[in-house]
């Protein structure tokens, strides 16, 4: 874990609200793996902004961060330029550990797609991806997923691209055909709950990456709480330290 300044190698806009930023940070890239995140200082804001790591290039010492402009902090971040320095704390969190010996389905919803790209890349050529967006205009990273996956299915809520509907519609077809797989997912809470419920129904192991408002990002302040039901009872875990990736069957999505 580091807290240091790193140079932005490039920053590009992917859609009206989403940006992709490559950070030159060899030491940080070296300790990164898919599903982990960094906490970025954004100008004068008191709180850093947690952004999941999308791609990792250890050979070139870079990580790629894809983020959505949601408020003042991410607005500030989107206004940075190549060559600017960023104050970054990370890498943080537990991340995904895709099992190369098992068939794997990677599911991303909207801004939940970027961490799944890194996970699919780490897993290898047999990855199957399901990506969900509100509409074609919001689509991101499709070509990148196609480059590393065996199959990529896209759903849009309005039917403007791919299958009209939700990622769970495609997942249902996949699992009813063959449920011998592990599912990894990141996206909005209702989507994750839907994915988790479906996996439970088919007896499929599922890991979900959660989002929650964070403070320190390293496990000291206990604000990013997530209620879990584990073998030994109910716990209040923390997304930054115990997660962001959790075993879906332990997550209390309504807690």
């Amino acid at each position: 874990m580091f807290q240091s300044s790193y140079k932005i190698q490039s920053i590009i806009q992917l859609n009206p609200t989403t940006y992709s930023l490559v950070l030159d940070c060899a030491e940080l890239a070296n300790e990164s793996w898919c599903g982990r995140f960094v906490n970025i200082r954004c100008g004068e804001k008191t709180l850093r902004r947690p952004i999941s790591i999308s791609e990792i290039d250890k050979a070139n010492g870079t990580i790629t961060l894809v983020f959505e402009v949601r408020g003042e902090g991410t607005e500030w971040l989107a206004a940075r330029h190549a060559g600017d320095e960023l104050d970054v704390l990370g890498p943080l969190g537990n991340g995904f550990f895709p099992d190369a010996d098992k068939r794997a389905v990677f599911i991303g919803g909207g801004i939940g797609c970027p961490p799944m790209l890194g996970a699919a890349q780490e897993y290898g050529a047999k990855a199957e991806a399901i990506l969900g967006f509100r509409s074609a205009k919001q689509m991101i990273l499709l070509d990148k997923f196609k480059d590393c996956c065996q199959s990529v299915a896209v759903t849009t809520n309005d039917g403007s691209f791919g299958v009209k509907g939700f990622v769970t519609d495609v997942l249902k077809d996949k699992l009813s055909e063959n449920s011998d797989c592990v599912v990894y997912a990141c996206g909005p809470m209702p989507m994750l709950k839907g994915v988790a419920d479906m996996c439970a129904q088919y007896g499929v192991q599922c890991y979900v990456s959660l989002e929650q408002r964070m403070g320190c990002g390293i496990g000291a302040c206990l604000v990013c709480a997530c209620k879990t039901q584990e073998a030994d009872g109910t716990h209040m875990r923390h997304v930054c330290k115990n997660g962001p990736v959790f075993d879906a069957k332990e997550v209390d999505f309504d807690g």
Binding site: Q3, L47, L89, C216, C226, M236
Partner: protein, 303 residues
């Protein structure tokens, strides 16, 4: 190199910079970034008699130059603290302060009784948590109850007792005097100011608890004023906290009368803040020809 040592109720601090309760856990996370033995002290995450799950998330919201939090004293209880958390600090060469909270006087007394033989240097009694029903803050707003709970806890405490005060009162000096009358060895202030933030699109408060405790740079002038008023009233040492983000803030706190300072929310913005404050304090003292940090305590010259 000025002498940064301060003494509070017989406890020697290598410097006057302490990390504030609830922002620093038990130091283990920050120990991955720097040697936490460089700190003057660590005030541990608040402990209650029984384990507490805390409030549902979201527990944090950002506000102009600050934050609101509603953690709600999530902690493993005093036995968990003694068995699992405190041993983590066994080899840390800094002042260890146990921070305690409760919902009735008997809870505080029993918690402190169980800490009697613990390897801690001091106890900080939180009678000012705004995020728990009857969570201390009710004890902290009436002078009579402040004096009473301080007296009861002091009677069983084997370590020096710091009473942490809430700013959500009309007259802070009166509350400080009540803690002193009850036998407090020191006081610390301020805890958070009760606040609120609403999402205008969902028309819901950001915090699931609706309200929370405000901290960060925005509260610093309020904290400084209260520390100044409290030190003018009492004769016991005062630890100043609330919105300190840089060494200049710490100097102001000391000039206002604080013997030491605590740093909380600023840890989230920059994990190295406490070390930067220690270094900056030292440079300031050297630049002003001060031999000891204690020489500037209370040296503000009011108009």
């Amino acid at each position: 190199m000025a002498d940064l040592h301060v003494n509070i109720a017989g406890v020697d601090f290598k410097n006057p910079v302490i990390t504030a309760s609830g922002t620093f856990g038990f130091g283990q996370e920050y120990a991955r970034l720097y040697d936490i033995s460089r700190l003057g002290g660590i005030s541990c995450k608040g402990t209650t008699l029984e384990p507490r799950m805390g409030n549902p998330a979201p527990r944090i919201a950002e506000t102009p130059s600050g934050i609101l939090n509603s953690v709600g004293l999530q902690n493993p209880g005093v036995e968990g603290f003694l068995q699992h958390d405190l041993p983590l600090l066994e080899n840390t060469d800094t002042v260890i302060i146990a921070n305690i909270a409760g919902s009735q006087v008997e809870d505080y007394v029993e918690t402190v009784r169980r800490l009697q033989d613990a390897p801690i240097d001091m106890i900080e009694m939180n009678i000012s948590c705004p995020n728990v029903k009857e969570g201390g803050v009710s004890f902290g707003t009436l002078p009579k109850s402040v004096e009473n709970i301080t007296k009861r806890v002091k009677a069983v405490a084997k370590q020096p007792l710091i009473v942490k005060l809430t700013p959500n009162v009309t007259d802070i000096a009166e509350i400080a005097a009540a803690a002193e009358a009850g036998g407090a060895d020191a006081i610390s202030l301020i805890n958070t100011l009760t606040g609120m933030k609403i999402d205008i699109h969902t028309r819901r408060p950001i915090l699931k608890n609706n309200t929370g405790g405000m901290s960060g740079a925005a509260v610093f002038p309020v904290a400084l004023r209260m520390v100044w008023q409290a030190t003018n009233r009492v004769h016991i040492p005062v630890i100043g906290l609330g919105g300190i983000t840089k060494w200049q803030d710490a100097v102001e706190m000391l000039l206002a009368g604080a013997t030491a300072v605590q740093i909380g929310t600023a840890n989230f913005t920059d994990a190295y803040t406490p070390l930067k404050v220690i270094d900056g304090l030292n440079s300031y003292l050297d630049a002003h020809g001060e031999k000891s940090v204690t020489d500037i305590v209370g040296k503000v010259q009011p108009w």
